[in-house]
């Protein structure tokens, strides 16, 4: 990837310890912004983010949020991060359209490696818009 990537963290607990770890981990790739669940949809409509990270431990209704993001932004890469991953929640997240479902690693290197892979993923071709203008609408 050339240029700096733009990341968005959707969290119910702003300025958390994990957010600071995430922010530090992402320095080589780009910049991290944070928002609440309430403002997320509007923000995602207004701006283009290379990767959206949903802090599933602090927001309610993660699958719904992921579906909303995906339906508003066909090209969203969405990673759901949680303190306590379970297989049923992982299934729900992927069925809602998540790109990945991860444990909230505290190790910066591990975190960076996982997010780097998510960022490199090619989106399925049928999710692309017919008109490039849709990206900014």
């Amino acid at each position: 990837m050339t240029g700096k990537a733009r990341f968005l963290l959707i969290t119910g607990s702003p300025n958390s310890y994990w957010q600071s770890i995430l922010s530090d981990a992402l320095i080589p790739l780009g910049t991290l912004e944070a928002t609440s669940e309430k403002d997320a949809v509007e923000l995602v409509l207004r701006n283009t983010y290379d990767l959206i990270i949903v802090d599933a431990t602090t927001v309610s209704g993660t699958p719904t949020l992921v579906t909303q993001m995906r339906s508003r932004r066909w090209d969203s890469r969405i990673v759901v991060a949680t303190d306590s991953p379970t297989w049923t929640r992982a299934r729900e997240a992927f069925q809602a359209g998540a790109t990945d479902y991860i444990r909230k690693f505290l190790d910066k290197e591990e975190l960076l490696a996982v997010l780097r892979i998510a960022l490199a993923k090619v989106l399925p071709p049928w999710s692309r818009p017919q008109n490039p203008k849709e990206r900014t609408s």
Binding site: W87, R91, F94, I117, K121, V122, L123, P125, Q130, N131
Partner: protein
């Protein structure tokens, strides 16, 4: 009605028998495999509609055994796969359902054996419904274009016959008019010749309409051809030996079709 062919791969023979029996009672034709090699052979034979793959196909006691997912990755993505396991973990779900770098996940659903036969049946029906909708979509589009093609052909034929009839009648009237003029019957010869010329012009007009009809026919025909080519190319992808090649080729075909059909 043709039965849906399901491959059921599980190294637990007893479980394989009981679930296969359940699915057969639900109206499916079940092909059974006790290991990945047999399962791959059955998939490669090419008449499987959906595959249910046990996560640990080699060793139930090995928590690193993801052989079911490996098999899903190694075989064609045109056959939807459901991963089934007695040992569900979030890591396994991630491996099974997360999109790979190329964009598609190895499997379309993940079911735990503890969820019972009904959960598996629901997952199978959901996957088949999507597959059926896709095929129905393609077929109804092809049918619609075919109907339009037949309409356009009929219309073009009518225009052509009308133009031919009008032109021939026009020529005949012109000849009669000239004959009358030469015989000195000017009062009848002049209007007759004029009427013949007008009829000839009407014929030419209908001929032009027939041309438009033919163009429409050509357009519908080439659309029909494109749909068939699209289907054939997708099927041809499955004949490629490597799963990666299959995926790449399918993505290229879908992208090209998207550009062709949907870009204004």
């Amino acid at each position: 009605m043709k039965k849906t062919n399901i491959l059921f791969a599980d190294n637990d023979g007893e479980f394989l028998e009981s679930r296969s029996e359940f699915l057969e009672q639900e109206g499916f034709k079940v092909y059974k495999a006790l290991n990945p090699t047999v399962a791959k052979d059955i998939i490669d034979q090419g008449n499987i509609d959906l595959a249910v793959l046990d996560l640990r196909l080699l060793n139930d006691n090995d928590d690193k055994d993801f052989s079911g997912i490996i098999l899903a990755k190694q075989t064609t993505s045109s056959i939807p796969k459901i991963i089934l396991t007695r040992y569900p973990t979030y890591e396994a779900v991630r491996e099974a359902l997360a999109p790979q770098l190329i964009g598609l996940p190895p499997s379309v659903d993940f079911v735990a054996k503890q969820e019972g036969p009904q959960a598996l049946l629901t997952a199978i029906r959901r996957v088949l419904r999507f597959d059926k909708l896709f095929q129905q979509g393609i077929n109804s589009l092809a049918d619609r274009i075919n109907e339009d093609y037949i309409d356009a052909r009929k219309q073009a034929q009518v225009y052509f016959l009308t133009s031919l009839l009008a032109a021939l009648t026009g020529i005949l009237i012109i000849f009669v008019g000239i004959g009358l003029l030469m015989s000195g019957v000017v009062a009848a010869g002049v209007p007759g010749t004029i009427a013949g010329v007008i009829l000839g012009a009407v014929g030419a007009l209908f001929f032009k309409r027939a041309d438009v009809g033919n163009e429409r026919m050509d357009r519908y025909h080439s659309e029909l051809l494109r749909i068939r080519q699209f289907e054939n190319l997708l099927v041809a992808c499955d004949e490629l030996s490597l799963a990666g090649q299959q995926e790449n080729s399918k993505i290229k075909i879908i992208e090209a079709a998207t550009d062709l059909w949907l870009t204004p």
